[in-house]
């Protein structure tokens, strides 16, 4: 693998991502041809097409793309941090914290997008600090301890979520369930998520070769000149913030963060300099496609996109595991 080959692969993935966005803008109850989408995007088409493309489909498609990219990137980073190819962005309880925050706000009657996002983000940050503080404990910072703390905090959040669901008034239950399953229809402005993705990817790429070292073990990474303690802290906060941004925007969409880095690793190898941007692009494209499917398969009825990603993700994952049993054993 060298730089020019990596750039070529990323270029191809970027084209695929653009195509997925185009499809998301064209498909739906008002089907548009690519030319019409372009006209509408540039503001020269007929009024309704402009309204549908720029007002409805574009923000939703961009939000789905950004969150897919965020989740896939966060998943890839978590896998390096925990040195476990089966880690996903939710394993350390970030999404649990966000769910507790968002559902609590819903129960209290908050319905504004902004209020929900603020509550979810606050919950995610609280879970992040809780796991960090508890796993640090006496100053040691081992993978096992971090993982166990995260899993336990996630379990606690799960219990809190179940409690709130059972106590919630009937009329709010449906919204809460959709939030939990992940739903791009509720996404507001996609810009914060897109900016977070760009900033997060830039930060991750800055450390990409050091992440290659860390994936091979903290001791080897330290002997080859990486500042391991600093690198792991950075990884933890970066992956957590990316996850929090995604979950805040579209809810806890499952499987993108686990399956996409895995697929990319199987196809392109484990060089983080290629894996991280490729996972971000592939994750974005995949969630955009899944969301387009979710709102058009049984239209006008909409499915929560998280259910769809899980329905696609589970068989794909099982197939990969069965096909390549020796590839990624921890």
């Amino acid at each position: 693998m060298n730089r020019s080959r990596a750039l070529l692969i990323l270029g191809l993935l970027a084209v695929a991502a653009a195509l997925s966005l185009l499809l998301a803008l064209a498909a739906g109850s008002v089907a548009l041809r690519p030319g019409e989408v372009w006209l509408a995007l540039t503001g020269r088409g007929e009024g309704m097409a402009i309204e549908v493309v720029r007002g409805l489909r574009l923000p939703r498609a961009l939000a789905a793309f950004a969150c897919g990219g965020l989740l896939a990137l966060a998943g890839a980073l978590m896998q390096v941090l925990l040195r476990n190819p089966l880690a996903d962005p939710y394993v350390l309880g970030i999404s649990g914290g966000a769910a507790v925050g968002a559902l609590a706000a819903m129960m209290l009657g908050v319905s504004a997008n902004f209020g929900l996002e603020a509550a979810a983000f606050t919950g995610a940050l609280a879970a992040m600090w809780l796991v960090f503080g508890l796993a640090r404990g006496d100053g040691s910072w081992t993978q096992t301890r971090l993982l166990l703390t995260g899993v336990i905090v996630a379990a606690g959040c799960g219990a809190a979520v179940a409690l709130m669901l059972s106590l919630a008034p009937e009329d709010r239950l449906r919204g809460m369930l959709f939030w939990l399953m992940g739903d791009a229809a509720q996404a507001g402005d996609p810009l914060p998520a897109l900016l977070t993705l760009a900033a997060g990817l830039a930060a991750a790429l800055y450390f990409a070769r050091e992440l290659n070292l860390l994936a091979r073990g903290p001791l080897l990474a330290a002997t080859l000149g990486a500042n391991v303690a600093r690198l792991r802290l950075l990884l933890y906060f970066l992956a957590s913030l990316l996850t929090a941004a995604a979950v805040t925007t579209v809810g806890s969409v499952g499987f993108i963060g686990l399956v996409v880095p895995h697929l990319v690793r199987l196809a392109l190898g484990n060089d983080q300099r290629l894996l991280l941007p490729a996972a971000a692009l592939a994750g974005g494209a995949l969630l955009t496609l899944a969301d387009t499917l979710a709102r058009s398969v049984i239209a006008p009825q909409q499915l929560p996109v998280g259910v769809l990603t899980a329905l696609i993700g589970v068989p794909v994952f099982l197939f990969l595991l069965a096909r390549a049993p020796r590839m990624d054993q921890a």
């Binding site: 070292l213 002997t223 080859l224 000149g225 990486a226 054993q329």
Partner: protein, 285 residues
Amino acid sequence: MSANVAPASSRLRYSDQTNEPAGSRRYSSLLTAHDLAVSIGGKTVVAGLNLALHPGERLAILGRNGVGKTTLLHTLAGLARPEAGALELDGHGYAALGPRGAARLRGLLPQHQGDAFSASVLETVLIGRHPHLSRWDWESEADETLAREALAAVGLADLAARSIHTLSGGERQRVALATLLVQAPRLYLLDEPLAHLDLNHQIAMLELFSRRAREGGAALVMVLHDVNLAARYSDQALLLHGAGEHELGDSETALDAAGLSRLYGHPLRVIRDGERRWFVPKMPT
């Protein structure tokens, strides 16, 4: 490195012999420990260790399981803080060198190789180039040539494209040694370099690293369990007796039947074969 390379026959200096001007010592010694104390979990590994390892010299560390050989090696590598005393690598403290500067001067062979993710053998060896590349560099063709040469040197040229997960223990160990060769440090710290290796590769690896010391002006510190190989392939020996007690001296004199019997708590005797001595454990009949 040229003018400072001491002849291979030069010897370790001890604290009681170091009344020479500080300057000359500073420039000739690759690794210097002043009054070093190392402990782990409240147990002392060494106390008051003074050593100066020069280019071309090979030091063997021997001791029983759990006596702290690995901890001492990690401390010498600057990866663990000593309890007391100071370490200098090529005349600089580890704090002044920084992790990256240190990585260009010293390399460590870890005792265990962990491969959580799959990668090819060549990719794994190329990792050793990390300290020589700047942040946005990718490995160049020259780096790849170095990696292939290192793989050839450890007898794995044919396995470059293989997945690391398909290797045997001995092959994996040689990949780790090749990674270290590609890192090309001046001080090699080897934690059980012969683990998992069969006899021919044990000798071949010791010859390979001794040649780097003799011809390349490198210095070696090796944790070894085979006393005969230690006697043959080291210039100096450090015996860790536990509870902070240590012995440091010429391999010729420091390794003798009485000392080794005490070290391992098992009687050994010497068989002479011309110039060479062979240590043989006494076995129950």
